[in-house]
């Protein structure tokens, strides 16, 4: 009798553990194990661990704001923000303007953000209006609106009257495909207050910047507007009944996401050292979406912690995959391929979960 009791207890415990694992998410476990195995193999291949961690921190600083742009969109109920290229292009325009005005250093960086925000508000408003008309298909429409906007802006990059020779092609019209930020705002955040700890370089400025962005977001979500916005995502009918203008909130969420996309690409560019124009923004939305999903978000729920954890795990894998692959064999493309498989695999997993926006 007693024995039976014990047995049932152990099974319930086992069940509980299984339940916990399931709620934690099987793909997340796979990804964490994958990252750990990569780290271990890196140790065996005597790839310097501090350098890997430094790179991961730099990438974290570069990518977190882009990932953060998914958050308002998910919370307000417009699902993953596949219209991210719209925000990115606003940011790139801001960056190009700041170079055109011959600004340098942190001024250039913040001026670029300043230029891009009004653009992002405008574009985000228009995009929000569109999304209100296509409820239920935001992701598909968003993807193609983003793609179309990228190719439309390709016209723009060729024809817009920017004069600075740094950005122009030596021959022909238009701005280069990649514009170097050397001497402009390349690494301005990464180098700000940077220090070394046990050989790990900490890009303090970039981390502080992303901390501030997350803090602002967290505070905003606690305000009345922020709470109303989340209500729209959780239960639009109830939100409407309690007097919240759902459509207006959705537009607001889209605008914030677009602005974060613009700021995100500029923080990305300062770490990367280049502005990537033309077709480069096209697939960035999927990477950011994958990152927040890896962190534990779903198509309907997300937290700031998901943004940070997800970006860390995803970028961690990308950072380690390349040197590991290169040491094992000349498999240079492994990093790129694992990026494609991991990012799209996690989005597919999220889509195949029950209880999405049917």
């Amino acid at each position: 009798m007693q024995y039976d009791n014990k047995k049932s207890q152990t099974t319930t415990m086992l069940e509980q553990i299984l339940k916990k694992i399931r709620s934690f998410g099987i793909p997340r476990i796979i990804i964490i194990l994958f990252l750990l195995s990569l780290w271990i193999s890196a140790a065996f291949l005597s790839i310097p661990f501090p350098a890997l961690l430094s790179d991961t921190f730099v990438r974290l600083g570069m990518n977190t704001v882009l990932t953060l742009s998914m958050l308002p969109s998910i919370l307000v109920g417009t699902s993953l923000f596949f219209g991210l290229p719209l925000g990115i292009i606003c940011g790139l325009l801001g960056g190009v303007m700041s170079i055109e005005l011959n600004l340098k250093g942190l001024t250039a960086f913040f001026a670029a953000i300043g230029f891009s925000i009004p653009l992002a508000i405008l574009v985000g408003y228009g995009y929000g209006l569109l999304l209100n008309r296509v409820k239920g298909s935001e992701m598909t429409v968003g993807t193609y609106v983003g793609f179309a906007f990228v190719s439309l802006m390709s016209f723009g990059w060729v024809t817009l009257p920017f004069k600075n020779p740094e950005m122009a092609w030596a021959i022909g019209k238009g701005i280069r495909v990649t514009v170097s930020l050397e001497g402009r705002f390349s690494n301005v955040l990464n180098k700000l207050w940077a220090f070394e700890l046990y050989g790990i370089k900490i890009p303090t400025g970039a981390l502080v910047f992303l901390g501030v962005m997350c803090l602002i977001m967290g505070l905003f979500l606690r305000t009345r507007t922020g709470l109303a916005m989340q209500e729209c995502g959780m239960n639009p009918k109830f939100a409407k009944a309690s007097g919240i203008d759902v459509d207006r909130m959705r537009i607001l969420g889209t605008i914030i996401s677009t602005i974060l996309g613009a700021i995100g690409i500029l923080t990305y560019a300062q770490g990367f050292g280049f502005l990537q124009l033309y077709e480069a923004p096209m697939y960035m939305g999927f990477i950011a979406a994958a990152a927040i999903l890896i962190g534990g978000a779903t198509l309907k729920t997300a937290k700031i912690s998901h943004v940070i954890i997800g970006t860390f795990l995803f970028q961690g894998i990308l950072v380690v995959a390349l040197p590991v692959a290169n040491t094992v064999a000349t498999l240079g493309s492994l990093a790129e391929i694992s990026r494609i498989i991991v990012s799209n695999g996690i989005i597919l997993y999220a889509l195949a979960q029950k209880g999405g926006n049917e």
Binding site: V134, T140, F286, I341, N344, I347, L351, A352
Partner: protein, 412 residues
């Protein structure tokens, strides 16, 4: 008058593209025979692929971006057949045979995934296309030569691992289907006219068709084709150098006939019911999950054949890129033909392929003439392809929302 107006609003997209095509053709300064040769080739190349999209639309799955998976299956088979050095028609048949089981498996997997992601089918197939591209690259870039043994200096990179980025089918599958039978365009037009006339005359005498206007229209078209064709042959004009790959077009025609008959079978009707209303279908005792999987399998298999037809016509392909855009371009073509997420016909598919490729041919040339830059024409092309997909998805969703609102108002 209202009829004209309805025709214009219902076909606004196609009419717009006819205008763009005609204007672009004039601006580009292409001669008609030259343009015709290009467009005939491209129609032969791409029609099959576009037609493979129709069945999922029928089953209510929307636009199947996952035909990329079918394209990959076809491409994998082509790689194997090229490795074995089997040329011509035999090689093509073998690659269709090899691609078949792979496409069936991929179709079943896609269908099962879509049954889990109801209501989000299109975005799921889109992402699935990207995902499977990663798997494809993993197999052909990393596993071939290292895990999967393959020794071939022409196909494999000099390091011995991974396939080269482009594969030439010359001396292999290239034009294996096209070169079966090539007939000068005017002859082809005349023969088509005669067949058309024959078919409709027999129909007329059996009193199948009632609408007189349509009969007269088709009769005149047929007579025009015959007259024009014979005249061109007689005057030995440039049009005679346009040689039509009849074999490929016959296969496309076969697919059209198959789809027409399929929609009339029990399975086809069930599919339509599932597409229109899943709940009614369930009540009627139709296993909608199974029907949806069958639709995906059919689409994937057809797409695999479509890619083989496509590549044998092109004669060379980029190993890691050719399949990627197959889905997007085919979908853009279908939509330009006037199809929507919920409805697509054979006519729309063929018209769309014609209009889309017309734009493809003329836009770089028009771009060069108008802006002095061919690149701008290419940007325009990409913008139109993406834009048309985004626009028609948005319009469809908006219409659905309006309908739901209307119904809600009525029920109140």
């Amino acid at each position: 008058m209202t009829q004209v107006r309805r025709f214009l609003t219902n076909n606004a997209v196609s009419i717009l593209f006819v205008v763009i095509g005609v204007l672009g053709l004039r601006v580009s300064g292409l001669s008609l025979p030259f343009f015709l040769e290009d467009i005939v080739n491209r129609l032969a190349r791409n029609s099959f692929m576009v037609l493979s999209l129709i069945i999922p639309v029928l089953a209510g799955l929307g636009l199947n971006f996952a035909i990329v998976l079918g394209a990959m299956a076809g491409q994998a088979a082509i790689i194997v057949v090229t490795h074995w050095k089997i040329p011509g028609l035999g090689g093509i048949l073998l690659s269709i045979l090899l691609a078949f089981p792979l496409a069936v498996v991929l179709g079943i997997l896609t269908g099962r995934l879509l049954n889990r992601a109801r209501g989000k089918e299109m975005i799921t197939t889109l992402i699935l296309g990207f995902f499977s591209n990663g798997i494809y690259q993993l197999v052909f870039l990393l596993l071939v030569g290292s895990v999967i043994p393959m020794k071939n200096d022409v196909l494999v990179l000099s390091s011995g691992v991974g396939l080269r980025t482009s594969i030439d089918l010359t001396g292999g599958l290239k034009n294996g289907l096209d070169d079966l039978l090539r007939i000068p365009f005017p002859v082809c037009a005349a023969v088509t006219g005669i067949v058309l006339l024959g078919v409709y005359l027999t129909r007329f005498f059996r009193r199948r068709s009632v609408r007189l206007g349509k009969m007269v229209g088709i009769g005149l078209l047929a007579l025009f084709l015959i007259g024009w064709g014979l005249f061109q042959v007689y005057t030995r004009s440039m049009f005679n150098f346009v040689r039509v790959p009849v074999g490929t077009f016959l296969i496309v025609l076969g697919l059209c006939v198959f789809i027409t008959f399929f929609t009339r079978t029990k399975l086809g009707q069930d599919m339509r019911t599932v597409g229109q209303d899943r709940h009614i279908a369930e009540v009627a005792g139709i296993d909608s999950d199974r029907i949806r999987i069958i639709a995906m399998v059919m689409s994937t298999v057809l797409a695999s054949i479509g890619q083989i037809v496509f590549l044998q016509n092109l004669g060379t392909f980029s190993t890691y890129g050719s399949h990627e855009q197959a889905g997007m371009f085919a979908i853009a073509a279908l939509l330009i033909g006037g199809a929507s997420v919920a409805k697509a016909t054979i006519g729309q598919a063929l018209l769309g392929t014609l209009l889309f490729h017309t734009m493809f041919i003329v836009s770089p040339l028009a771009g060069r003439t108008l802006f002095g830059d061919a690149q701008l024409g290419e940007f325009f092309r990409a913008f139109v392809a993406y834009g048309i997909i985004g626009l028609s998805l948005a319009l469809h969703s908006w219409k659905k929302q309006m309908q739901a609102r209307e119904e809600a108002r009525r029920s109140v």
